[in-house]
């Protein structure tokens, strides 16, 4: 049974409705329809803009030999002197771990926000308000610098992970909640009318439909987290931003190092966005299929 079978809407009408509203469906239309040149033109414009940017960088007369010399360290292909990973590899580790923790926290918080239990609701809304209402940098500093004052000493890496997870978990909880709320009530009722147990209603009917709505903003949050992971450099973690600044300071090659770091962050963001797009297509696949019909 797919989630479209229980919608109780005529297939043709449902398809038209979704083709107008969902990104994956309209993408599919571009591939096949008369606007087939659209993507080609998009790519050509991108290439032209990229060439312009590259030309600007060449115009700055950057010391590319220096960049090449530092690139293996920036990318994290070599280990730091203390044997730990560094550079972009550490940035990715921090981001991916925080992502997993943030998702766990966010799911719990979202259920708390939708709970009829007042204590659960209060806990969830209090946490979300606190962590969305204070700057991430202040949270990082409190966890790393202030907690030792009361005897709780966390390492630089765990401090960074906790700060990023708690901060982004609070935002992600709202995203998840809004996704769940946006699934029409009739979906659940129809599934229950078919005598599906509650967990199956969530797993097969409301969950997948909510995910379709959650994935685009959640993807944007994770891209943002990737860049905010540079904040952990203030605790002496040798991640991408820390190394770029350290090399720049030592040699006064600020332009080279900061542009190199920016490009590496950008490339990683693009990779994240591609994963997001795949997930978006996967969870919107029923709609894309209908739109083509």
């Amino acid at each position: 049974m797919t989630n479209t079978d229980v919608r109780g809407v005529p297939p043709a009408e449902s398809a038209r409705h979704d083709a107008e509203n969902s990104i994956p469906a309209s993408h599919a239309a571009r591939h096949d329809g008369p606007r087939g040149y659209f993507l080609l033109k998009v790519w050509l414009t991108w290439v032209a803009l990229f060439a312009l940017l590259a030309a600007a960088c060449v115009g700055l007369k950057l010391d590319l030999g220096f960049v090449a010399q530092k690139l293996p360290y920036l990318l994290g292909l070599r280990l730091a002197p203390n044997g730990f990973i560094q550079g972009a590899a550490l940035t990715l580790l921090v981001t991916c771990c925080s992502m997993v923790f943030a998702m766990l926290v966010a799911i719990l918080t979202a259920f708390g926000r939708m709970s009829s239990n007042p204590v659960a609701f209060a806990l969830a809304s209090f946490y979300a308000s606190l962590f969305r209402g204070t700057p991430l940098l202040v949270q990082v500093l409190i966890i790393y610098l202030a907690l030792p004052q009361v005897g709780i000493v966390l390492g630089a890496l765990s401090s960074g992970l906790i700060a990023l997870s708690l901060n982004y978990g609070a935002y992600l909880a709202e995203t998840i909640r809004s996704g769940m709320m946006a699934v029409p009530h009739g979906q659940r009722e129809a599934a229950m009318a078919l005598a599906l147990p509650p967990w199956l209603v969530f797993w097969k009917v409301t969950g997948p439909q909510a995910l379709r709505l959650i994935i685009p903003p959640a993807g944007a949050l994770f891209v943002s987290m990737l860049k905010d992971s540079s904040l952990v450099s203030i605790m002496g973690l040798w991640e991408l931003n820390f190394l770029a600044q350290a090399y720049a300071r030592a040699t006064y090659h600020y332009m080279e190092m900061l542009i190199a770091a920016a490009l590496i962050y950008w490339a990683m963001s693009i990779a994240f966005e591609m994963v997001q797009l795949r997930l978006e297509r996967r969870f919107g696949r029923s709609l894309a299929w209908q739109a083509r019909r």
């Binding site: 002197p81 923790f101 390492g155 997870s165």
Partner: protein
């Protein structure tokens, strides 16, 4: 949430386990955890091979070798180090720290390992500033949380040293990363900064690397630099002091100093 709570608990337990005596901890683990800064050439910086290098690093290596333990270096940032309450994160800081009364409240200073006076640095094209008496109303850069910052705020007090003169008023103190400050001063006189107060050794390194700076006037004040430990383990302090004194006596410190500077900055009087 539960996972994070247990993470926090694990962290707290680890802190408890680490809270014992520093000496015990170092002996048990066979590792000396040394905190230093990576933005203070030639004392501590990241070299071309991505390794931490500098005078402080070499001294730390010698101390660890003397104690017969491995060395582990961390670069947590200056403010984190001088604010104390390490709670076992690090065992020692061989990081060019000046012993001020403020810092002595949260840290112990078992032994001095070099002397390096403070100087005033200006752009080489500077015409208006000839000595520290000319910096009134000027923008002067210092390392954030450094003893030079306290000096410009007329609040520096080095235990056991003569009171310091402050022949200036209304200085605009610009705290920041010292290396970045030097670069800003090198851009031109008065462009971003008018002057910098720093240690003579870091000043000379900056002069050599930028070719755009100079030292003016006399030495501002003599400044000892000490090894710092977390407050409250006299046994560990004695062990550290004995190790450093032994390195002084057998000429190791002098050898390291000559590797990085023209002069032996570890002598008692500079």
């Amino acid at each position: 949430m539960r996972l994070l709570v247990s993470l926090l608990l694990i962290g707290a337990c680890a802190a408890q386990a680490r809270a014992g005596s520093t000496l015990q901890r170092v002996e048990q683990r066979g590792v000396l955890h040394d905190a230093l800064v990576d933005d203070y050439p030639p004392f501590g910086f990241i070299d071309a091979n991505n390794e931490l290098a500098g005078f402080d690093v070499d001294v730390a290596r010698a101390v660890a070798a003397r104690l017969g333990v491995k060395l582990d270096l961390a670069t947590p940032g200056w403010e984190t180090i001088v604010s104390g309450r390490w709670q076992g994160r690090w065992d020692i800081c061989i990081c060019s720290m000046s012993p001020t009364e403020e810092r002595a409240k949260v840290l112990d200073f078992p032994v001095r390992y070099y002397n390096s006076p403070a100087v005033l640095v200006v752009n080489k094209n500077e015409q208006r500033i000839h000595s520290v008496a000319d910096i009134s109303g000027k923008r002067v850069g210092v390392g954030t949380g450094s003893s030079y910052e306290s000096y410009l705020n007329k609040a520096l007090s080095i235990p056991g040293a003569a009171p310091i003169a402050y022949p200036f008023h209304d200085v605009i103190v610009i705290p920041g990363d010292e290396t970045v400050n030097f670069r800003n001063l090198a851009l031109g006189p008065g462009l971003r900064l008018d002057a910098i107060v720093s240690d003579i050794a870091t000043a000379r390194t900056a002069i050599d690397s930028t070719h755009a700076l100079k030292i003016v006037g006399d030495v501002l004040y003599a400044e000892p630099d000490v090894v710092a430990t977390e407050k409250g383990d006299p046994e560990w302090n004695t062990t550290v002091a004995r190790a450093v004194d032994a390195l002084k006596a057998d000429g190791t410190l002098a050898k390291i100093a000559r590797r990085w500077f023209d002069a032996d900055i570890t002598l008692d009087e500079h």
